[in-house]
Point group: C2
Chain length 122, copies 2
């Protein structure tokens, strides 16, 4: 068993929400160099990926993703310094929360039914 | 602004998941004394409330909610000692995560666009 897994969603304000989906998308754009390639990797439609990035960009003083118009298939995109710092802060929060959850959930894990053990692959 | 809000979902195993919905349901059952009353308060169908409790009860060595059969409208239900300790551990995790998130998100909040301020009521 790899220990409990945690999903952290953060509402910075009631309108600006950060969760694993947007963070993974930013990471994929950084890796792939375009929104459309990132969407493909994450099995997300281009439209959905674009809307999420548009929403993020509009929420912050500066864009998290900078785009250059391209031809058919879309242009290039890169994650800005601010975008990278958003990813970094989120991942650091997640790591700290994971350590805390591992520590605090031990008494609950002992109370799980044995048949409830985690045998599935994830 | 009341600061960032956080949603914590915990997968104790891939099959045993705890999040704010189930925890609120346990708290409502403790307050209301029945699954149907708790469901009503949370605007959740009786069927859904019952399925969530059934799933939780099956996941742990002992039930989190003890039920007594009743007549029409369902019987009484109470949260067991184990159920209360699950709620307590979850709420403690949430509190600790909230403190951590408040501390770590300060640099991100400063980068939010002013028009992104939280003026809506929640």
């Amino acid at each position: 068993m790899s220990g409990p897994k945690l999903f952290l969603r953060l509402d910075l304000t009631s309108r600006v929400r950060l969760g694993p989906g947007k963070i993974r998308l930013l990471e994929a754009i950084e890796r792939e160099g375009s929104i459309s390639a990132a969407g493909r990797v994450l099995k997300m439609s281009y439209r959905r990926a674009w809307l999420l990035i548009d929403e993020l960009n509009a929420s912050f003083r500066e864009p998290l993703v900078a785009t250059k118009l391209g031809g058919i298939g879309g242009g290039k995109a890169s994650v800005t310094a601010l975008g990278r710092s958003v990813v970094r802060v989120y991942r650091a929060m997640e790591k700290e929360a994971e350590r805390m959850v591992r520590r605090r959930s031990a008494p609950l894990l002992r109370q799980l039914r044995t048949g409830g053990d985690d045998k599935s692959k994830r």
